[in-house]
């Protein structure tokens, strides 16, 4: 990495590495905190507070506050320290600065589960997938048969959680409080779903799919999730039944032995541990369909208001979004730094991205970044450029993308809905020079 990069540090690390500076940063220079409270605080932080006399009276450090906002990180063999969203169900987000690889490696792939992760199977090649419903010839094919019978394709495909960006909503919406990191752009190998559907013979009038996977609900009652899409998306050339990721077996937590990849649409459609896909005349009614689930208002509703989602529509192509991957939020750079080479990725559901702009003065002026074309449709795009910094001090890098239809990331999350889909506001990375 050519640029100075500083990972986000916990308060414990900050104190361990440089207690003097940490104290100056954290507590400033005001009144003292004394006695038992101070001792308790030091114990809880796992570090002494050397400059406690500067600690403002009555201030509770964020790391100790109830419902602490300090992120916890996943510790798992073969996985990077992803931001923990929850253990049951297991969900973890990739910090933006770990999304720098053009092809997302397995260790930096975000984790999204609705239920329990199934146990690995002994013979992945014998895993069976059933295609039935409104088809002339129902099929039951093993992974080995799929690979043998249909053209095998490899594509770089962006796949993101339908709720990516949810933490941008105010008031808070229900669900994992994702930043922008529930996104991936791996290289997937599999067969086109449309080739399999054509082999089965989709009947006239069939308009929807219903997907089924092997993961069970946390309540132990029924499937974890079962979503469906319009047949047009199922017939898209980039909608694949995949059995390899980045040239290797799909990791178990990411859906081995076989999963759907439905790029550009909510990730829940990319059913993991795929066992069955039915073709339907009417919209699927599985868990995760209808109501406010993966659905957004047509007529905007009052933020925070109660709504059963009856008038909402299913979320389809995801909105335009960008990440800055060269520098972590909270990066500190040497005094005198006056320019910075920055870069990241950007994508826009079924569309592509036309422009990326960056501002270092809180949106007063914007500078166009260099933007690469995607290597294939539904792959994310690299953006990069050099920014100037007029002085030492605190800056925010704001970055925003505009899609091929001219739609730009908004300044604040738009179209609030109870379960929080579609938030894609302009992002901000804080940097401190000196």
């Amino acid at each position: 990495m050519a640029h100075q990069k500083q990972p986000e540090r916990s308060i414990q690390e900050l104190y361990r590495d440089d207690p003097e500076r940490a104290d100056a940063l954290v507590w400033g220079r005001r009144r003292a905190l004394e006695g038992a409270a101070l001792a308790a605080m030091g114990t809880a932080l796992g570090a002494a507070i050397p400059f406690a006399r500067h600690m403002p009276g009555g201030l509770v450090p964020a790391a100790l506050a109830q419902g602490a906002t300090q992120p916890q990180f996943l510790q798992m063999e073969g996985k990077a320290p992803l931001i923990m969203q929850g253990e049951r169900p297991l969900n973890a987000e990739t910090p933006e600065h770990l999304l720098d690889d053009p092809i997302t490696p397995a260790d930096k792939f975000f984790i999204r589960n609705n239920g329990n992760v199934p146990d690995p199977v002994g013979d992945p090649r014998a895993w069976k997938i059933r295609i039935d419903g409104e088809v002339n010839t129902p099929l039951e094919l093993t992974v080995a048969e799929l690979e043998q019978r249909f053209e095998v394709v490899t594509r770089r495909l962006q796949m993101e959680c339908g709720g990516n960006g949810r933490s941008g909503f105010s008031p808070q919406a229900a669900g994992n409080q994702w930043g922008n990191g529930a996104i991936s752009n791996a290289e997937w190998t599999g067969v086109r779903l449309r080739d399999v559907l054509r082999a089965a013979g989709v009947k006239d009038g069939a308009k929807f799919t219903g997907q089924h996977g092997a993961d069970t609900h946390l309540s132990a009652q029924g499937p974890a999730i079962s979503r469906g899409m319009r047949i047009e998306k199922a017939m898209d050339e980039d909608t694949l039944i995949c059995f390899r990721m980045n040239g290797a077996a799909i990791p178990q937590i990411h859906g081995a032995p076989a999963r759907l990849i439905v790029p550009g649409w909510p990730g829940s459609l990319s059913q993991k541990w795929l066992t069955r896909l039915e073709v339907l005349n009417a919209p699927h009614t599985g868990r995760g369909m209808g109501g406010t689930s993966y659905r957004i208002p047509v007529r905007p509703i009052v933020p925070g208001s109660r709504n059963n989602g009856a008038d909402f529509v299913d979320m389809e192509s995801m909105p335009v979004r960008s990440v800055l991957s060269s520098h972590a939020h909270g990066t500190r750079l040497p005094a005198g730094t006056r320019s910075l080479d920055i870069r990241g990725h950007t994508w826009a559901g079924d569309s592509s991205v036309r422009e990326v702009h960056v501002s270092t003065d809180f949106g007063q002026s914007w500078q166009a970044m260099q933007l690469d074309a995607p290597p294939n449709r539904h792959a994310w795009q690299r953006w990069q450029g050099r920014i100037a910094l007029p002085s030492d001090g605190y800056f925010e890098v704001w970055y925003r993308a505009t899609d091929s239809n001219g739609r730009m990331q908004p300044h604040v999350a738009a179209n609030w809905n109870p379960q929080g889909y579609g938030a894609n506001p302009i992002s901000r990375v804080a940097i401190l020079i000196g």
Partner: protein
């Protein structure tokens, strides 16, 4: 020249080790995921107050407390979520006094909070 066979052998050994490792890693990651999900929590991870035991007992039957601790909803939104969980996620419907106990606790301790983007200013925490 003499190095070539060694390089080939080394490459083959490496490749077979990689192939052998993959299923093991898959199993270990699945086990790690299960271990995380099965991790026992203490009730005290939630804010102290009337109704905590009820909330802890009832909610963690399905999911862990991370889902509660990350949340910041008004009483009305918490109440709405109780219906959503019974309609969509197999929760036994909550009614009467017990429902009030649960929803009151959640609203009191996990109500709306003011926060900056990404949890606040990075150079202060």
């Amino acid at each position: 020249m003499r190095l070539l066979p060694y390089a080939l052998v080394a490459a083959l050994l490496f490749a077979s080790a990689t192939i052998a490792r993959t299923p093991d890693l898959a199993r270990r990651q699945a086990e790690a995921a299960a271990a995380l999900a099965d991790q026992q929590e203490e009730e005290t991870v939630l804010a102290e107050g009337e109704g905590r035991s009820e909330v802890f007992g009832y909610c963690t039957a399905c999911h862990n407390t991370a889902l509660i601790r990350r949340s910041a909803f008004t009483r009305e939104r918490w109440d709405e979520l109780m219906d959503w969980m019974s309609e969509k996620h197999e929760m036994n419907p909550l009614e009467g006094e017990f429902r009030d106990t649960i929803v009151d606790y959640l609203a009191r301790h996990y109500g709306p909070r003011a926060r900056g983007p990404r949890g606040g200013a990075p150079f202060l925490n």
